[in-house]
């Protein structure tokens, strides 16, 4: 029922929407945080905050420890509430009211909420929950309340799963809360595949690893015998494409995440393959194939093995990425003399140049929502992560550093993760996250140095 948000300032005044008054009031300040709609802005308590205001006021909320219903659920009841808080506060859009400020607690999940007690500490949103444990199973229930208007925000929800998956259930609670408040899809119950790095710069060891979006539950998928680069999830998250030097040469590999079995795609002697990504159909892979020094873009049907050449130019063509509807491919080429971004039909054909600013543009990645393309820009000796609309308008740079590269989109298309590498002989790579308004830049927790993140779809 809610519309896309995170709208940049220039477009803010084009949309007008009707909505319940209480929800709009909750959404007001948040909408501003996200660069949202003036329908809400007019009702916000601080109407002069705009998208360009450098300091925003995150929405205050409370998430008391969930109620442990029955024995054995006490730890989970506390831990789940903490992960929900980490998720919401981690977006930069919400501010948790510490439990020390609470006037009353939540003794029972079904007891009426004492709204006045939460209004008194200025909570705008209250999240309550309960956990039942039986054997190896957990059942998690939660409700969301608009404190000021004294009403629930949507119906309660219940999740059931194994005790091991308590973090996932917490992420699902946070996704539901985030989604109801912002009108955006959630992204907390998701994973990130990345390259775990160790060793000095001239003897770097690289392994594929996967973790929850927040850095929990790290698992390693390969050993470090061969260089591995740039993993990408399939549209359903069941397979991972990556580039491996295990054969001695860079080649696109496909891994089944259920059993970690791998196969090399299109092993033609004398050629190298790299920069793979799935098409939205999950059957087609687009990648660069190098022959005699020249890299062009190809697709391969992983079921039939059919190989199709999409570009045929003496210049470098690489880093292809499908539009979410599968109709177009965005890629980079230096055919103009320097790295720039182009869009072509999915079956190949004359490309249209997308980037037009000064400097070089590479690693374009189409948002899962289709509304933006993220990229790496190089200019004046610095690297930037930016976004641009597929029609070439509204280009914005979100980050800048010695070396930022390789953006990947959160499943909701509102947050970007990327590699940031530090300078010098002791330089190392880390993962960073930023939202598409350029706010909330922060490092993502990883067990060591890490690069080349790729976000999974939202888990089922």
């Amino acid at each position: 029922m809610l519309s896309p948000s995170f709208r940049p300032a220039l477009y803010r005044h084009e949309d007008r929407m009707t909505r319940s008054h209480s929800l709009a009031r909750i959404l007001g300040p948040l909408a501003l945080c996200l660069g949202l709609l003036n329908a809400f802005a007019a009702q916000a308590e601080e109407p002069h905050i705009t998208f360009d205001t450098p300091v925003i006021e995150p929405m205050p909320y409370a998430v008391p420890d969930f109620v442990a219903e029955g024995g054995g659920a006490g730890d989970a009841a506390h831990n789940i509430a903490r992960v929900v808080a980490d998720d919401l506060t981690g977006t930069g859009l919400f501010r948790e009211i510490p439990s020390g400020a609470y006037i009353s607690g939540i003794a029972s999940f079904d007891a009426p909420v004492a709204y006045a007690d939460w209004q008194a500490i200025n909570a705008q949103v209250l999240i309550t929950g309960a956990v039942q444990a039986s054997g190896n199973k957990l059942v998690v229930k939660f409700r969301l309340f608009d404190v000021a208007s004294g009403a629930p925000l949507g119906d309660g929800l219940q999740f059931a799963g194994s005790a091991k998956s308590w973090r996932r259930m917490a992420h699902k609670v946070a996704d539901a809360a985030y989604s109801r408040i912002t009108g955006e899809g959630g992204y907390f119950d998701s994973r990130v595949v990345f390259v775990s790095e160790s060793g000095p710069k001239d003897a770097r060891q690289k392994r594929l690893a996967v973790m929850d979006y927040d850095g929990a539950n790290v698992q390693y998928l390969t050993d470090s015998k061969a260089i591995v680069l740039a993993p990408r999830f399939s549209p359903t998250g069941d397979r991972i494409l990556y580039t491996s030097y295990a054969s001695g040469f860079p080649r696109v590999n496909l891994m089944n995440t259920a059993n970690l079995s791998t196969q090399v795609l299109d092993e033609q002697p004398g050629s190298m393959t790299f920069a793979p990504r799935f098409a939205p159909d999950g059957h087609t892979v687009v990648f660069s194939l190098e022959k005699d020094g020249n890299s062009d873009i190809y697709t391969l049907n992983v079921d039939s093995g059919a190989l199709i050449q999409l570009t045929d130019a003496p210049s470098i063509e690489t880093a292809p990425s499908f539009s979410p509807d599968g109709s177009q491919i965005v890629f980079e080429s230096d055919r103009s003399g320097a790295q720039q971004i182009y869009i072509m039909p999915a079956a190949g054909g004359e490309p249209t140049r997308l980037s037009s600013g000064k400097g070089k543009y590479g690693t374009p990645v189409w948002s899962p929502r289709g509304d933006y393309i993220a990229f790496t820009k190089i200019g004046d000796g610095r690297f930037y992560i930016g976004v641009i609309r597929p029609d070439g308008t509204d280009e914005r740079l979100l980050t800048a550093s010695f070396l930022d590269e390789g953006p990947t989109w959160a499943p909701n298309g509102r947050v970007i993760m990327f590699t940031r590498e530090s300078e010098g002989a002791a330089g190392s790579a880390t993962l960073y996250s930023v939202d598409i308004s350029g706010r909330n830049l922060h490092q993502v927790t990883t067990p060591g140095a890490a690069s080349d993140p790729a976000w999974s779809p939202l888990l089922p």
């Binding site: 190089i378 000796g381 590498e421």
Partner: protein, 183 residues
């Protein structure tokens, strides 16, 4: 080879050889000529992957060490370019002469880039560099079938600082010798 870093070349090459051998597919190694050491103490050769060769005595003009140090095993490139400089052509001409005199060696031509580029682009760029060097050797009479190219992008820097003194060393194509040209 004109300008050299102070770092011991041999140590670098040994590290490089170790790193390369780690990439070798053990099954292929078993099918190759492993176990037969040539006059220069060369190791085995894979049929498709990467292989190694012993360095030998640098004072012996037929040794790999002599090739690496005296002929010069690498050429350098200017920023974001793959065309060969005059100096690079000179080095490669020397390599071609040595390779003609030592036909038992096959060549892995490694292309490399500095860190001032995105990962995928640098792989493509370093493929062009390796290919430029290979094509020059072929133009000098070396059989194309003796040369395989590998694009390493920015994955294997040898100089670690983040300025041009290091970048200029990292933008390179390195000729790595192995026994078993099959000639």
């Amino acid at each position: 080879m004109s300008i050299r870093v102070a770092l011991p070349i041999k140590a670098l090459l040994i590290v490089s050889a170790l790193a390369l051998s780690a990439c070798r597919n053990p099954d292929r190694f078993a099918d190759g000529t492993g176990g037969t050491n040539g006059a220069n103490g060369a190791g085995g050769l894979g049929t498709d992957g990467v292989s190694t060769a012993g360095l030998g005595d640098p004072s012996n003009p037929k040794s790999v060490a002599y090739f690496n140090q005296s002929v010069g095993d690498r050429v350098h490139f200017i920023v974001d370019q793959w065309t060969l400089t005059d100096e690079a052509r000179g080095t490669l001409s020397g390599q071609a002469a040595w390779l003609k005199a030592n036909p038992e060696y096959a060549i892995i031509m490694e292309g490399h880039a500095d860190e001032q580029g995105t990962r995928e682009y640098n792989i493509a760029l370093s493929a062009k560099r390796a290919s430029s060097a290979k094509n020059y050797l072929v133009s000098q009479g070396i059989a194309a079938s003796r040369i395989q190219t590998i694009a390493y992008g920015k994955e294997k820097p040898i100089a670690l600082c983040s300025d041009e003194t290091c970048y200029s060393q990292n933008r390179r194509a390195v000729t790595v010798l192995s026994l078993g040209a099959g000639t």
